[in-house]
Amino acid sequence: MRILPQWSLPLLKKELVEQAVRKRTYAIRGVYAAALSVAFLMFFYSQYSSMSIENLEILGSGQFVFEFIVGLQFAGIFIFLPAMMCGALTLEKEHGSMAPLILTGMTPWQIINQKYLGRLVPMFSMLLLSLPLFAIAYAFGGISAGYLFGSAYLLLLACLEVGAASLMASAIASTTTTAFVLSYVLLLLCGMPIAIWEGSAGSDPFFVILIQTIPTIVFTAAFLGIARGCLLRNAFPRRRKSFLKAIFTQIDLVMNQANKYAWNVLLVRDRDTLPTDKPIEWRELTRKSLSKTRYLFRMLVAIELPILLITAFIFMESPFRRSMSEAVSALLFLLWPLAVLIISVNASGAFASERAGKTLDVLLVTPIPGREIIRQKMKPVWRLTLVLVIPFLTLFLVKAINEYGAGATWPTKGFSYKDPLAKAAEPMLYVMVSTAVVAIFLPMFSYVSLWIGLKARTRFRAILTTLTTIVVWCVLPILLVGVLTDFDMDRGSAGFLAVFSPLVIIPSIELDEFLVREEWVFVILTFLWHAGVFFYFRALCRFNADKYLGRVPYPFTGPRATIKPHLDM
């Protein structure tokens, strides 16, 4: 080590030791192994449950299993690696340890490479978990050596590319939250290894795959090069506030310039007010850029205007008009994740940002009750929710009006359209049910996010946990329905589980025409479950506000400890 100091790799060692002592590393690895094994067993069961072991049909069928495992591994790389890699450099910046790191004898390339390797090693260890499964698949036959090596090579390459893209995001961004979002956006550039793998389907020779992957290698090298370039340039980023302020100042400039052509109409004027009796609410609504009325109005315009333009275009162009409902549904499918993302990020970050800014303690020693602090703090989230409800309502109404107009062309639905009221019944019902979904789901997501944010120590952890929870919550019941159906459970009974996923009812309303199929039990149960979740988390946040915020609850009714702690007496 002493003879060749450049090979001592101190940063890599530190990264690996840090990860080795964290319980989270093993928890993630355990979850990954469990998910992989369960998925494999499910697939295996669905493929081979009907075959006997003596059946020759089973021979050569290993390729299906193999493809399934490789597909899972690609999914694992795309889901886990950005989250693992995005904090590699931003955490150093956030903890103020970037300067000492740069001042060591290490070159920027050494820092980049060791950080890169340090985060890739755990991912490789997760990929290795599938080796026994590959062995089983290989034992069934039907996999050529070239396909095996080609797939392993493409998995490795996907790791390198996704890792490099996320590291670049980490070098560019000043906070882990920004790096996290940017990493997942950059995944759009990293799909080539999967495309090659799917395209080759085991038939292409290895050298062909090698040649096809040259652009991926170039991309990976470019990502690392950019990360190297940004390492020093962005090592000491401007404070987030200044960055946001700069953005909003620029928006103001553009808007004021544009307003000259609109007769200088001023809808909302900023006023210099002072807090009256709700100081937190006052600060949230009048002093934070994102909560100010004029910015919310701009956000509304930015979302609502394209929606209105698209729907107006489709409405006017008769060839597209027939597919109006499908277009509106497509817009709703885009709007839902956007709305949930915006609300969740805001609600989960509400208190995490106070903790990060070290402003929470001084707030907690004031006599404002905990639930009142939460109520006032959530005010901008409700405003934001209201703004986001408007595009939803617009789309619901557009679809309802279109269906009302087109109702006569769908006599098969069994409605009598002679009576205008009867004709309007279904569109009205659609608007009512859809509005109820929005009215229940958006507050529910905000309270779940708030609860997670109250428990999380950092903003990044709050947002990451919230988004992961929402994704798992949406997907898990659907997966369970699939598993139970595969295990020959009655489809109706298994389908009952879909009630627990917020993801099912929306496409069901939009595409399944459930109103025609009269699946009211499903709708009512879904509403009841999600309304229950909303009220539960709302009560949890309100009644435990002081405890979650980190102060002695009032009124405190617990008993006083009468026995001294037994620890180290």
């Binding site: 100081p279 070290k358 006083r560």
Partner: protein, 310 residues
């Protein structure tokens, strides 16, 4: 009668005992200096008194009110300044104080005069329209003091108020503390800048590894520990006989002859510098140089602590 009473306090984080069986009292109007190495349990104790932490065992009372059972009443009675605290940087100084005046439910009609008073006390009147993020660290610290004075609390909890400040800012903070002391506020202050504590505090408590080592007034502690102090003296007509006579002066512990001076060790608070000087003159010594070392709380601190954490 003690205004603040902490009895047998235990605070546990998981398997770590941060504070163990801590007891102390602060009489009304006293300034209590809380001293200890990093990780000794000072901040934890202060957080218990500030209603931010529940003890595992023991009681803490402020003005006969139990901190744990009447947190809301305590919050109206205390002013807490944490060791590091953020400020709402999008606000101006006046807006920041208005925010907390509203949070402390000060009547709207009185707020202007209250804010004016605390700005004057902390010498920030000219900065009332300045954005908070444009203030220097020292000014932010003074703004923190202004904030905790808004609701005229009886008891102030100051966790390292002068840490990280330059000498001028430290002196300014010290002057404000003296002013608050004169106003009759009861203050608990933790600090590492020991000689400054010595100037402000009427009592000190030295805590290490979650336990209270010594507690009392500065004089009591010096006396109890028999802290010594060195006086460097250069005597032109020094003889062996005179050296022996100096060693016999009451309160002198030892006399050591160094190449260019005589180092006389005296017991702190038994012999003052001027007394020793008089005694030396009485012995006929012709003094060329007389240099008492500064009183050192550092000596007390180092003697009582070993740098152990809880």
């Amino acid at each position: 009668m003690a205004y603040v009473e902490v009895e047998n306090l235990w605070v546990v984080y998981g398997r770590t005992v941060a504070v163990r069986d801590l007891s102390f009292q602060i009489p009304k109007g006293e300034v209590f200096g809380f001293i200890g190495p990093n990780g000794a349990g000072k901040t934890t104790t202060i957080r218990v008194l500030a209603t931010l932490l529940r003890p595992a065992f023991g009681t803490a009372r402020i003005g006969d009110t139990d901190v744990m059972y009447a947190a809301q009443a305590i919050r109206r009675r205390i002013g807490f300044m944490p060791d590091t605290f953020g400020v709402y940087e999008e606000l101006k100084v006046y807006e920041y104080l208005s925010f907390f005046a509203a949070a402390y439910e000060i009547e709207a009609a009185k707020r202007k005069s209250v804010i004016g008073d605390v700005l004057a006390l902390t010498d920030l009147s000219e900065k009332s329209d300045t954005p908070v993020d444009a203030l220097s660290r020292g000014m932010k610290q003074r703004l923190g003091l202004a904030r905790i004075l808004l609701h005229d609390p009886e008891f102030l909890l100051l966790d390292e108020p002068a840490s990280g400040l330059d000498p001028r800012a430290r002196i300014e903070i010290r002057e404000i503390l003296k002013e608050l002391k004169n106003m009759g506020k009861t203050i608990l202050i933790s600090s590492h800048i020991l000689h400054e504590l010595a100037q402000v505090c009427t009592r000190i408590g030295i805590i290490e590894a979650g336990r209270m080592g010594v507690e009392g007034s500065l004089d009591e502690i010096y006396r109890r520990l028999q802290v010594t102090r060195n006086m460097d003296v250069r005597i032109v007509n020094l003889t062996d006989e005179m050296k022996e006579k100096i060693a016999k002066i009451p309160g002198v512990s030892s006399v050591e002859e160094k190449p260019d001076r005589l180092s006389i060790e005296v017991k702190q608070r038994e012999v003052e510098a001027e007394d020793l000087l008089d005694a030396l003159h009485a012995l006929g010594a012709r003094i060329q140089m007389f240099q008492p070392e500064t009183t050192d709380m550092e000596t007390v601190f180092m003697r009582l602590t070993e740098g152990k954490t809880a």
